[in-house]
Amino acid sequence: MGDNGDEPSERRRSRWRGLVGISIVRLWRRATGTQSRRLAATVGAVALTIALLVVVTGVALGLADGGVVDDHDADVRIAPEDSTSLSAVDDVEEPRLGASHERTAEIRDADGVDHASPTLVELVELEADDGDGSERVLLVGVVPDDESRTVGGLPTDSLETGDSHYADGSYDGPRRGELVLSTAAADRLDAEPGDELAPTGPTIPEDDPVPATTVTAVEDAGDGADETPIALVHLSELQTLSGADDGELADQVLVWGETETAESAADEAYPAASVESIDRTNPSSLFDDGLAFATSLLALLVGVVVCTSFVATTAGMTVNEDRRTLAVLESVGYPTHSRLTIIAVSTLLTTLVGALVGVVLGVGGIYTVNAVASATVATGAVAAVHPVFVPYAVAVALVSGVVATPYPLVVAARTSVLEEVGR
């Protein structure tokens, strides 16, 4: 038996398990023994390369996410079951959340929740004061706080904090009459900050004129490429305008804060509603953004090349020092393919360990980059982390390991048993 092709599969399996076991034990003894420096060098080199890859890919993903019109920067969204987010389809009545102010206040009070706001979306015709035509604009009602948040792709910080018109449910508090227009809406209405716009159209009763609102800011929605005319207003004012004040209706409630806490508070406030955390980092967005895609592709190529070079060099040097072991294996009856299997398994295992360390370093690096960027040049996170980074980084490292393995194998195959055991 032994090397015959017709040997029992059980024997083959035992041999494979044994060869992998020898590889693992040797690596472990090296890692914990006095010969750990070479192993540490290989693992470290792979880890640094993979960490760099993860950080650059994270920045690219952050770049890609910033370029997509992201409706909100909230962490959790509460919506009625079976609803879609921010549906702008005309005249389609969707289920809505009731008692939104009261329940959102409960969520807001929970520990770990930074802010919570119901949002209501209504398609409203706005008309400039000079009567120069009207345009349909998607109005999004929101309760802003003193932090800058993004709702409907627009920043809330140009709206006065709070929602004074609500007045504990009486809807008779002072109106702010503020409007944050998206660039697309401002272009259509030919409006600029300071202009007054009045809701109009058949839904507004002629005998009950709605006070005009003042454009407080014109902002790009998302990356500015979105052509949807959209505007932010205070929630209670939009509720009054649309009749949603009866029942304090809202399309959804957005929650900012720690995801788990926010989710549990949301579940408590709206047990029958759909509560979901918002995943803003979608790796597929990399393919939609040319610069981000190119950056991540370049990182991938550099990662593979550098990782392969490091692994090939250090594994080759390790094998060179390990020639006697290979010679001993040959002398006790290990054929070439078994000896090379041990080398290949050792190389790939080392690479795998390096990749896992690299993922940890890379994720840490992304947090560091974000912390540094926030403290210096950026207003928020510039790099994003996604769970898919783990299999991605491991796969890249393993590909590098596979590409690098032939070199140590060649070094191993050229070992002369007589030279080594004769010494």
């Binding site: 038996m1 032994g2 090397d3 024997r11 041999r15 076991g21 023994g33 006697r324 006790v332 007589l418």
Partner: protein
């Protein structure tokens, strides 16, 4: 020489094993209590385990080197089962080359090497490796244990390639280590063992596949006199029902041989017969 030697048996053994790859193994891995099939020829004489016929070997004759060194010239030696053959001669006389050729680690430039009636010179590398694993145990002067593996793992090493299950490997290795007096050193790394202990581990490794032929290259060369004597006793015990070829400069080592072949400049100058 063997006839006059006292029978040694430390009486510690007796575990029953299956032969690793080719069939039933004796109940006693160190010494075979019963002759295996084929150990005697049809005329009742012990079977020839190793036969070198007109073997010549030149190092550097592969064409890559301008100069060649002739290590063996027309060497012919027979080693029978149960016979311990010593090889003596100065450095460079060809002792190690003969051991390597018998082990199938090298193919001589000319001549024939038969291991249990199989000519090694017309076999592929892979076949020679398989024959070595099945039939030859090697004991090196410098032990050549894998430093990162425990004594037990070192002994079990040949069984991994043979596809023996882990539990059986451990069982056999532990049994052999007990039989060579290292039952309390099973989990030790080679670096934690003395020279004599390492050589005992190496001997246990050479025996773990129950080989027919043992080749030992200066097995006591790295050991002090007392330890060397212990190792020799163990080797003699091992070689009683196998064929053993021992190369050494040391007279006390060669004294355990049934006959000593003397080499000079790659030639046999005395076959000890």
């Amino acid at each position: 020489m063997a006839a006059g030697k006292p029978e040694r048996n430390n009486g510690r053994l007796c575990r029953s094993f299956d032969r690793v790859e080719t069939g039933p193994m004796s109940s006693h891995p160190l010494r075979r209590t019963t002759a295996r099939d084929g150990q005697t020829s049809t005329d009742g004489e012990p079977r020839t385990a190793v036969r070198l016929t007109d073997v010549t070997h030149e190092y550097g004759s592969s064409g890559r080197h301008d100069r060649t060194v002739t290590a063996l010239r027309d060497v012919s030696i027979d080693v029978r089962m149960g016979e311990i053959v010593g090889l003596e001669g100065p450095s460079g006389s060809g002792k190690s080359t003969i051991l390597h050729a018998v082990s199938g680690l090298l193919v001589p430039t000319e001549g024939m090497i038969e291991l249990l009636d199989t000519d090694l010179t017309d076999r592929s590398d892979r076949e020679r490796t398989r024959l070595r694993r099945r039939h030859v145990g090697i004991v090196f002067q410098r032990f050549h244990l894998l430093p990162s593996l425990s004594a037990r793992a070192n002994v079990a090493l040949p069984l991994v390639q043979a596809g023996v299950s882990r539990s059986t490997r451990r069982e056999r290795a532990e049994s052999l280590l007990e039989q060579v007096g290292l039952g309390d050193r099973i989990g030790h790394l080679p670096g934690e063992l003395s020279g004599g202990e390492r050589q005992r581990v190496a001997i246990a490794r050479a025996l773990v596949t129950d080989p027919d032929v043992i080749v030992a290259d200066e097995p006591t060369g790295e050991l002090d006199t007392a330890t060397g004597a212990d190792v020799l006793e163990l080797l003699t015990d091992v070689g009683r029902e196998r064929a053993m070829v021992v190369a050494s400069h040391d007279e006390s080592t060669l004294a355990v041989a049934d006959r000593v072949v003397t080499l000079r400049d790659g030639r046999v100058v005395d076959d000890g017969g």
